[in-house]
Symmetry: D2
Subunit: 422 residues, 4 copies
């Protein structure tokens, strides 16, 4: 999908494309697979399918389409994620218990809402700018959940001792980690944040000035090969590399490698959406927490970039990369030849920044329930940038701010180094 | 089924009957329903179906049927419940994550094992007494899991805000709690424990002497009507009725009524296998913990019987009652006319005794893995007697010792009062 | 003290003797030592001193001594242990936070109550049998807390990395574990429980008949030497010896030896009230949980005795042994020569029995708050018999029932084996 | 103390003044009071006295004073707070168990180190700039612990049901909350961070440029009167004011008012270092978490200032205020007359900013163990500015960055509102 907002509207095609992509992601999964919740953070596929539908029902059809009757009155409780102003919510950690409504009923729910939405759009509902805005938000919301479906089902499958694959496929060729070049970037008083009339989340605005000291940015992400060096150098066992919280965490949890890695007799292996494979040194490392990313950077004599630095450095790049539409479903190896520009800033893996997730100067939340979309999560989380192999291609922006707690690592997060000039 | 052991053998019919009963219990449940684990104690239906099959594969076919190849090598890990001597086990609290193998594969597993078992029995495998013993144990084991399927799925469905029914049906007529008469029982040096050649679990033996003081036993179980009186008299709020542990527990948990009860504007309701209905005062109370049973008894100026008292008092009764084969799936109201004999000692609800679960004098565990069946659970649990509406009819004995921790209440447990003579 | 009840009275001397013994136990400890609570189960010495005083104030002086005014109205809340009927209690786990009232004030509290008690006894208060009963109970209660002062302060000191000694002293000579002989005991219908007019706790009555099969009892306790054999034979690593709960516990907790043992280069050492010393093979093992005692017995091809067996076997022995008045404050080595009688059944270490702590037939609690003394703890605990080196000499009886949860091991608990006849 | 660094040295007087101030703070407290640890975050006074001494022993005397022998080899383990590079540490949550060494020994430890330090300074040790730097750091470190002594002992005393006072004293006169005026501040590209040669912590450097949009700042802190309005307007019960984490926190914890407040029949009361008093509407509110500060600001239609805004706005103010040297030990009421300048920015209460605690551009940690001082805590904490009534007067700077987790509220934290221009 490529959703833009030049005419303040959304077509049936826009809507149906996004909705279909969700169904395609769920297609390889049985009703049983789609029910499992393997940890509190990771919701069942079935829940994602229902919740994204509930969004359109609750924020578009109920308030704006006269005569609409909700599909099932229980769903408002079951599939509300966190909108306090809409009412009570089913407890998040019990999403895996909801065997009824059945998956068939969820499919019927999706069809029902899609049919009414098609009628509504056909009748011109999205010609009303305020409604078009909410529909657009719903589509971008659904794209976020598409990526969550992949990160969550990966966790589900990883908890199964038989380690099933989500997708059959050949891994990329394995080769050594390519060389890293440093790009010098000038800084100064620059502008960041979204500009223009296209869609953006509220947290990307307003555009504003920040002052950047000159800095250097690595022309590629940190790779598995780099990470193996860090591990070989006792990176996980030297307190001096670590934030205090991170050191406590890795010792409590016994972390000695990224999530999904396990040591076999023939070397490190990693569980991917294509099953368990050997760790490929040339791929960007994935599934590391903020604490690990930060410790790696300190070990390497570098640091993470701020989100302002990251965004500014991406200015000249096109929004292309290994996104979900390429259907690779894994980070691709770093290209062996450098170009003088940052490689793979978009796609492959989200890149941790050192920036705490906080409101931009002048940030305003929307009125009403959709105002709960972003602002209320602005504490104790860190910003990631650039999208991953699981992000829908039309969903990303250079100003896009993803955010996770510093201990999270089940999403597709890696890193790129920055440093002060020599 | 009526499994006996006069000829030291088991027929294909015996085997198939028990196995079919399991499938009938699972029949109303979707693959999604059968996957859910709603708490650590309550296993998925699917797991029960696989685990009971694993029992025959592991303890009958693998050691005793030459050339048998296991259905799937992963199953030994996934479906071993707690047999340490057989190897590592999948963590109990993660049974709800195992979406693969699919339910179809579990059905195929059952069919596979059943086919080979049929061949094996046909070829005379169960003519070997030691093998017949294990097969019999496996069938009684499966019957235990049949009851667990019902108690566990009830818990699963109760966690669903839509409160689905396991079974459609009419509740029994509601009438006041009938009068309670006390039966005087003489005591003395009596024998308890299993006698004869029929099947019994190891924990029912050896038969031995215990000395009983004279005692009185109520001729009926405590009813919901009695329980409402206890609640109305602030039973849940007066520390003096309670064991210290129980008092802490109900205050921590906020318990103010039996499990599955909830107060509505029109009075107390209870979730049953037939959905939510009004509490019927004439039914034996069900889903109370040992602590609640004990507190009720103290409030009533009585006590729980010991398991010796219970067994001795049951001596003249036939093993008849409201068991699973009647398909009522709920306790029946107490009959209104008393008979001078204890009513409903068998079936309806398990009855808590005051006896800690401990070995009988001279108790011996079997050699090998099946020795882990009972003995290793003999700590910090209390004995219940008599079976419930969910117990297979041929499964119960008057010497049968069921056991649960004192805080458990999701199984079908109630109580009957005893007291010292006036 | 030797408290008896022939004349239904208590003298000032009886009272003052017990009260002084408490003070002598506290004497080596600073105000800081006496404040520490090292775990929820182990109360500060200061709290013990105040709580035992509160007992006399609350149950003797306030109800029975006209005109008595409480020392400080806050103390009723601060130093009530668990008497629900007396009012709210300060949370148990926060006893170590109560720096004020200071220890001086607690000493003043004790003096105040003692002075009034002396006046009251002098004026004949304890000539009233009901009051004498409560005073006697208060003295036995205080003796229980004397033993707790020692077990609790041992835990406190053990948590200090400098491992301070409670008492200076020479350890007993170390020699190998002496041989164990089995005593054959006939059983039959025997009587157990307290008889006679002397003091006893309510849980020792009524005297009643139990039927015992013939059994064998070891003529000595299990020693450290035996325990080292168990450990050397992988006793802590073989699931088949263990109750299921015990196996989970030792694996969760990482237990590989009794509490206070630690492995040094020169062998196993143990922290005692005299500091850290080498493990002496000839001493009765101490600080093992019920689970460990039970597992050891199973490993040894034996079992724990029931409390009925233990009491019956002790019938011919005098109540002598290594009690607190000998001031050894450690188990003494097993005497090397056997006598045909059980050695060290009284004193040295409490001996775990296999009996769950439950009411004797016809058990009645006292009216009022002192009825909370014993009965409400009769769940999920196991009985120990015989007293320890920390038990006041006049405090023990052959019918005395001590009780602890099956995982507890900070009190002075060991074991003696029993078995069925050959 | 007024420690400056023009000549790169520290005098004996400087040293002794700071050390004495610690002793004066501890003087009203008994050895028992000084031992208590009422929660993991709050260390015993005794521990603070020992740990600050350990700092000088470990980082000054051991490396730099030839022939120095440590006072006691156990202390390195017991009184190391978190310096991983110095070795293992005693577990933080067990600091209240360390009754030995006694408080007398801690006093002797302080005297010993102070005597040697006096000799060392006299012999010119602090003429070496690198050593002088560490001594200065040690003195500022000790001043931080002086404030902690007060915040921690307040928590200790508050857990005592008798609510003892740390200090006798009269509360300030109570009057209504004075009016609030907004100051307009221009912003632009400004400099923040420490400048000059005086002492500063590493986290205050380097001085650097930040771009500030124009903003408004309240000329006074939020008062108790304001907070009562927030509470009366259901501030603690309306989800829309709260960050999502904060909303979960206050509901889990049942927070309905600042820490130490409790509702009495005659209105809200608050526990202070002078005991329990009525809430005074004109005082700056104290003991609120970041989440509460943020929610209040949103309710008020405002926001918290960033730390850059705060520092910039403080530029013209002198470093004067209600600090510990005034010995008020409570926030003072807001002066009734406004001055066109911010009132009480320094002293009274620390003021939460919206800024996550993170390194300034170009931040470098020191080499060696003292490099663990600040940098490793730069995650998931928020910055507070300005000092409190418990901060030593010479300790504060306008660039001073205090930091706490967003849920902490036992330190002396309040807030001042900011907003975007109209």
């Amino acid at each position: 999908m490529s959703v833009s907002r030049p005419h303040d509207t959304v077509t049936i095609g826009d809507y149906q494309t996004v909705r279909d992509e969700t169904e395609q992601l769920a297609a390889p999964l049985s009703p049983e697979d789609q029910l499992v919740q393997s940890m509190v953070d990771a919701s069942p596929t079935k829940w994602h399918r229902a919740h994204t539908t509930w969004f359109f029902e609750t924020f578009v059809l109920q308030p704006h389409f006269r005569g609409y009757r909700e599909f099932d009155p229980d769903f408002g409780y079951l599939y509300n994620s966190y909108y306090e102003s809409v009412g009570e919510q089913h407890p998040r950690h019990e999403r895996g218990l909801i065997s009824r409504p059945s998956l068939d009923q969820i499919a019927a729910y999706r069809e029902h809402v899609d049919e009414v939405m098609a009628i509504a759009i056909d009748q011109g509902l999205t010609d009303i700018p305020a409604v078009a805005d909410v529909v657009l938000l719903g589509l971008h919301h659904e794209q976020q959940h598409q990526e969550l479906i992949l990160s969550d089902i990966k966790h589900v499958l990883s908890k199964n001792p038989t380690l099933p694959s989500y997708r059959q496929g050949e891994p990329a060729p394995s080769y050594p980690s390519p060389r890293l070049d440093w790009l010098n970037i000038e800084g100064g008083l620059v502008e960041v944040g979204h500009v223009g009339s296209g869609f953006r989340f509220d947290n990307e605005a307003p555009r504003h000035r920040v002052f950047l000291e000159p800095f250097r940015l690595a022309d590629r992400a940190v790779t598995n090969g780099d990470w193996l060096d860090f591990m070989a150098d006792d990176g996980y066992h030297e307190a001096r590399h670590w934030l205090s919280e991170g050191w406590a965490l890795i010792n409590n949890q016994g972390w000695e490698a990224p999530l999904y890695w396990d040591a076999s007799r023939s070397g490190w292996q990693v569980f991917t959406l294509h099953g368990r494979v050997r760790v490929n040194p040339s791929e960007p490392v994935c599934h590391v927490s903020y604490f690990e990313a930060d410790a790696f950077a300190r070990w390497a004599g570098a640091r993470l970039p701020t989100e302002g630095e990251w965004e500014h450095a991406s200015n000249t790049l096109s929004l292309e990369g290994n996104f979900a539409n390429r259907d690779v479903l894994n980070p691709l190896p770093v290209p062996e030849t450098s170009t003088g520009l940052p490689r793979q800033m978009f796609g492959d893996v989200w890149e941790w920044t050192s920036s705490s997730y906080s409101p931009y100067p002048g940030f305003r939340t929307a009125e009403g329930a959709v105002g709960e979309y972003n602002g209320k999560f602005m504490s104790n989380q860190y910003v990631l940038r650039g999208g991953s192999f699981a992000t829908p291609a039309g969903h990303i922006r250079r100003t896009y701010r993803n955010f996770y707690p510093s201990r999270a690592r089940w999403m597709f997060g890696g890193l790129r180094l920055a440093s002060d000039p020599r």
